[in-house]
């Protein structure tokens, strides 16, 4: 299957699962991270029940990402904003419920347990990350990426795929940073921006953040390009997808290329 087809298929599947009339009407449609679809697809595409594995792992990710958007303090007096916050809490809970339901129907009790342990490990790490101050961007990024890639890593370990996980994690970080770079350039807010500018003394403005992300992207691209370690066939699939033509990966777009050529 082509990269675009994979992304479209799982985007559509997830949106079918989370379809709920009132949530659709009142809160923004959640964003499914396309690079995670591709990473999960690479890991499980040859397994029995691969569709259930990919969808349930993405639902857990979506649930946790959704809950991250809840404001620390409830300070809005507008009924519309209050309702939006209330429904965002419930949307995250609903996505978690769907993940459990999907795997329970497939009788995949062990995989339910694996993802449950990913959730509590992630929440523990988040509770530290979100309330700590880091002096350097790289330090914060190291803690952040551990949280951000935890579910994909959990799936890899569950399937006993270990060779080349460092490649996969750098690949995931690169694509996350590409998205964040694009958001900064387009002056759109993100949770990552808020976290870095509040918790990292090296990055207090969006201009500084843009600069740090830019440097890190260049560094990661070079690192991935020169990667010469042995990798499992699953990670090799991901690597080939990356090497074929980065432009094929939807999220690497011309805007980024412009930004990098400055």
């Amino acid at each position: 299957m082509e990269t675009k087809q994979i992304i479209n298929k799982y985007n559509q599947l997830i949106h079918n699962y989370i379809q709920q009339e009132y949530l659709n009407r009142c809160i923004p449609k959640p964003t499914i991270e396309e690079h995670k679809i591709l990473a999960l697809y690479s890991l499980v595409k040859d397994k029995h029940l691969h569709e259930e594995y990919i969808v349930s792992a993405l639902l857990v990710q979506l649930a946790l990402n959704t809950h991250d958007t809840i404001n620390k303090k409830s300070h809005s007096n507008s009924s519309k904003n209050i309702k939006r916050q209330q429904l965002t809490v419930l949307a995250g809970d609903y996505y978690s419920g769907i993940y459990y339901h999907l795997l329970a129907k497939a009788k995949e009790v062990k995989f339910i347990k694996e993802l449950a342990s990913a959730i509590f490990e992630i929440t523990e790490k988040k509770a530290t990350l979100y309330y700590s101050t880091y002096s350097l961007f790289d330090q914060l990024l190291e803690a952040y990426i551990e949280v951000d890639t935890a579910i994909v890593n959990k799936v890899a370990r569950y399937l006993q795929i270990d060779k080349g996980l460092d490649y996969m994690n750098d690949w995931l970080l690169l694509h996350k940073l590409i998205i964040e770079y694009k958001l900064v350039k387009e002056e759109k807010e993100s949770f990552f921006q808020l976290l870095t500018t509040q918790n990292c003394t090296q990055v207090t403005t969006l201009v500084e953040l843009e600069h740090c992300i830019h440097n890190k992207i260049i560094q990661l691209r070079e690192k991935l390009h020169n990667y010469d370690q042995d990798v499992s066939k699953e990670i090799d699939f991901l690597r080939n997808m990356y090497h074929q033509d980065t432009k094929e990966i939807v999220i690497v777009n011309s805007l980024l290329e412009e930004g990098l050529s400055k």
Partner: protein, 323 residues
């Protein structure tokens, strides 16, 4: 734990389950650990674990497994409460500060997710797909019930069926599932399992109706929040539905709801007072009693044992409860 005094023979199991709960929520992160522990120590009736334990006594009980199931169901209930406090912006629960009040919304969200995941981790030690399918479906319904509650807020054009469907999802299903899962895990007969599910459902419906009555009749000290709080939050519960049969009252409530952004809480006081003085409370209690009667009657199908007696006592307790 008050209920446990009425049937001493499961008291030991409940105490042991408390320590399972405490062990399960232990976290390497201090904040999550303290937030979860605070929630646990705030107490609660432990109704769901009690139902699991009692239901399991109609089959072949593996005590270790049952304690895991019982504690997992209590943890799922706790996780939903900590998120509910963010939804309702509540600073007090059971007379104590909520997690969101002691820390903030983000910690409350993380705590809820953490407890939920710990519950699932615990529950997946039970390799019984049917129990997982039932609990998963229940959890989805529970959330849908809460979404419906938000959708129906401040809407005076509601009917009884909508209210009953909402409380079925929001409260009754987790209680009926606790009974049924207790039965599934202890391999009871299909008839016993069905009876326990029905009993739990009727008890759960009655329980929520009484909760909705107490919101008007309880004191601030008893409730841990001001009387009428649900109405002030826009929730149209059974007493309000009955009171709205008076068209003048319904019109008055509609106006207050429409102007809610510019009104103080005091504006609701005459409305709350009207509901308390009307026959709406008695009628709501009659419906709760009808559910309790159904719960009693359903028990007739079960073999006579101590657990059956205890289930009858719980129905009694629920009918008379003040908090």
């Amino acid at each position: 734990m008050k209920l446990a005094k009425t049937f001493a023979y499961i008291k030991k199991d409940l105490i042991e389950m408390e320590s399972v709960l405490e062990d399960t929520i232990k976290s390497e992160n201090d904040t999550l650990h303290h937030a979860s522990l605070q929630l646990l120590k705030a107490g609660g009736k432990r109704l769901r674990p009690i139902f699991v334990l009692l239901a399991s006594m109609f089959g072949e009980t593996d005590k270790q497994q049952i304690k895991k199931v019982a504690s997992a169901l209590e943890l799922i209930h706790m996780a939903s409460l900590v998120h509910d406090d963010v939804i309702d912006d509540s600073n007090v629960r059971r007379g104590a500060p909520t997690v969101k009040a002691n820390w903030d919304n983000q910690i409350a969200m993380l705590t809820g997710d953490y407890i939920f995941a710990k519950a699932l981790d615990q529950f997946t030690d039970i390799d019984e797909p049917r129990a997982h399918q039932l609990l998963a479906k229940t959890m989805m319904e529970l959330t849908l019930g809460e979404i419906e509650q938000i959708k129906d807020k401040y809407n005076v054009d509601q009917h009884l069926r909508l209210y009953l469907r909402r409380i079925r999802r929001k409260t009754a299903l987790l209680i009926s599932s606790s009974c049924q899962i207790g039965a599934i895990v202890s391999n009871t007969t299909a008839d016993v399992e069905r009876t326990l599910f029905k009993y739990g459902y009727y008890i759960g419906m009655s329980y929520q109706i009484i909760d909705d009555i107490l919101d008007f009749t309880g004191t601030e000290k008893e409730l841990g929040k001001p009387a009428g709080s649900d109405l002030i939050q826009g929730n149209v519960t059974l007493p309000v539905l009955y009171a709205m049969e008076d068209v003048e009252f319904k019109q008055q409530l509609k106006i207050v709801f429409e102007q809610r952004d510019s009104l103080s809480k005091q504006s609701y006081y005459p409305i709350i007072e009207y509901i308390k003085q009307s026959n709406a409370i008695d009628r709501a209690r009659d419906l709760s009693d009808a559910y309790l009667k159904k719960a009693y009657n359903s028990l007739g199908n079960l073999p006579d044992n101590k657990a059956k007696k205890a289930l009858e006592e719980i129905a009694n307790y629920i009918g008379k409860r003040k908090i």
